[in-house]
Symmetry: C2
Subunit: 347 residues, 2 copies
């Protein structure tokens, strides 16, 4: 608990350079990290450790929008920041190895919060086989954390959103809807920090919301298995399936039988009086699963399960956005999905 | 002028995906950009274009702290964001080639501002020989922009802050104090957008504040010339010289004769009634010059000018921070500097 820390100092009281030195000390090194955090920039020997095309992505988490300090510990936010960034690398078929972090914070943030954030970043980086190579600290009125993830392709080519072809299999590795279920529990007050332990099922959902665990290895596995398209389901299954559909000019027809809420989600829906927990599965964001398409003859990696098929464009009545092929979109059992929702940042 | 744009739409009215598509269209491609913005991550073929160790750094600019929308155009802010990030790459001896951008913005920001920001990012990237490879867009209450710059070392080794040795020459490439002079003019109301044209000298200072022009090529040139230490002067000459001094366990003795305010700064000081414009030169931040040390026998690259020498630790009376060698610090003509100031984010 940050507030109980003996020193109890804020970021502003400790000051930039001492806080940065403290945070840096929490990050382990790695063979490819020739120069780690603390200088003007980090230096990486990738040729010696990760030969191949470099994959890079950046993602920001904003307090209130992407996390709440009363729902998530600083360590949780660190895990989530790293996971969200590394998932984008995996979604190209890349193996993540390096993370950069820029923290913008009010000066009255407890310094312990910043340290625990670093612990979470280091922990999830470790799970992904990556390290934190550097960062930045800025004063602002709003707490936000920007990560930049670097990785290297294992397969000769990246897996784009635009390669899905009619006849392909639609498959997913990882969870869908569980983060949304956990979020709904927290919103209803059934998962607040410090409350009595929740039933195990509900606690697992809240954990999945607080600390996503993207299946990083499934990304390179999918690429090597011949995946034709792939995306990280950060904004919800249907929303991200639409992105593949529009970029590829095809229709993704999802199979409702393969997208049934699991027992934990059913328990949460029962508790909360949610009539249709399948909405969590279809539209809930922040699961950071990997949604991919494979040629019909491909052998799916064991972590992927089949959830639909790719049809030619024109099979959907949905209106495609400007620039996308007309008639591309997402169907559920061959029928349009009414009000797919999903997490649209500015909608 | 964003507000005069015919459509006049805000970021929130346009929506995330259309705005991202519009911004992306403003970024040119490059041979090393195998997959550009718009997918989960960008893919870079660096081995084929920039073989050598990768250099990476990240930096955030926050409205109010690092820029003001009434003092700088969106294009200025784009230039500054790119410059600040690329300068960190140059300060290691690297050549910048790639930039990632994460924009966090209130939904009522004019969409034209975001587009002009992209134009500034693209322009300064072009000046540096780099491209924008990807980004992220988030909603928040505070406007901030995080850049992550990637570059490649030209010399076999990076130039760290920690390599300065007694006897070395202290030298600088780029300007010092001019950004602070321009900032003081803006603060006094002598450089507001829309006012009558300033005298040329003052306008040049304001321009240097709004759109820093780091001497990117001087970084690799210094590395190849044998520079023993180097830093980007983002926080002021003395403050950043202290960082080299403490990291190297030495004293940097600066020569006041080499650090006289130029004619533009003298004119600004005269106008503003500033008694000691040398303070701008010594403590003003955001010039993004390259401060380096060279062995006494080195031939300085033409863009560097000598401003001091390196002495053994113990020559300074300044108290070094925890972890730094006692007696390391910065002197001016052999004497301690009283109240060096400089830009300390949380001081």
């Amino acid at each position: 608990v940050p507030e109980a820390e003996p020193s109890g100092q804020t970021v502003g009281q400790i000051g930039e350079d001492p806080l940065v030195a403290d945070v840096i000390s929490r990050y382990p090194g790695a063979g490819w990290l020739t120069v780690g955090p603390g200088d003007d920039a980090a230096v990486l020997d990738l040729a010696g450790h990760f030969p191949g095309p470099l994959v890079v992505s950046t993602d920001t988490l904003v307090e209130g929008q992407d996390f709440r300090k009363d729902w998530s510990t600083a360590r949780d936010v660190g895990v989530k920041t790293a996971a969200q960034n590394f998932a984008d690398i995996a979604a190209m078929g890349g193996r993540p190895h390096t993370l950069l972090i820029s923290l913008t914070t009010p000066v009255d943030l407890p310094a312990a919060w910043a340290r625990e954030l670093a612990d979470g970043l280091a922990a999830e980086s470790g799970r992904a086989g990556a390290v934190v190579a550097g960062g930045d600290l800025s004063a602002g009125t709003e707490l936000s954390i920007t990560g930049t993830a670097l990785g290297t392709l294992s397969a000769p080519h990246a897996v784009l959103r635009s390669g899905a072809r009619p006849g392909d299999i639609v498959a997913i590795a990882g969870i869908s809807g569980r983060s949304a279920g956990g979020w709904a529990l927290l919103l209803a007050g059934h998962g607040l920090l410090g409350e009595a332990p929740l039933q195990a099922a509900l606690a697992r959902l809240v954990d999945d919301h607080r600390r996503p665990r993207p299946p990083y290895r499934s990304g390179p596995e999918a690429a090597l298995a011949g995946a034709t398209a792939m995306i990280d389901t950060s904004d919800g299954l249907v929303r991200d399936a639409e992105r593949i559909a529009h970029a590829s000019g095809v229709v993704l027809d999802l199979d409702p039988a393969a997208l049934q809420p699991d027992a934990d989600l059913l328990a949460a829906a029962d508790l909360l009086g949610e009539p249709d927990p399948a909405n969590w599965v279809l539209t809930g964001g922040e699961d950071h699963a990997l949604l991919a398409t494979f040629p019909p003859e491909a052998t799916l990696p064991p972590s992927f399960r089949r959830i639909g098929r790719v049809l030619a464009s024109g099979s959907a009545s949905a209106v495609a956005p400007a620039g996308a092929e007309s008639g591309s979109g997402v169907l559920l059992a061959g029928k349009p999905i009414i009000g797919p929702g999903g997490w649209r940042h500015f909608a």
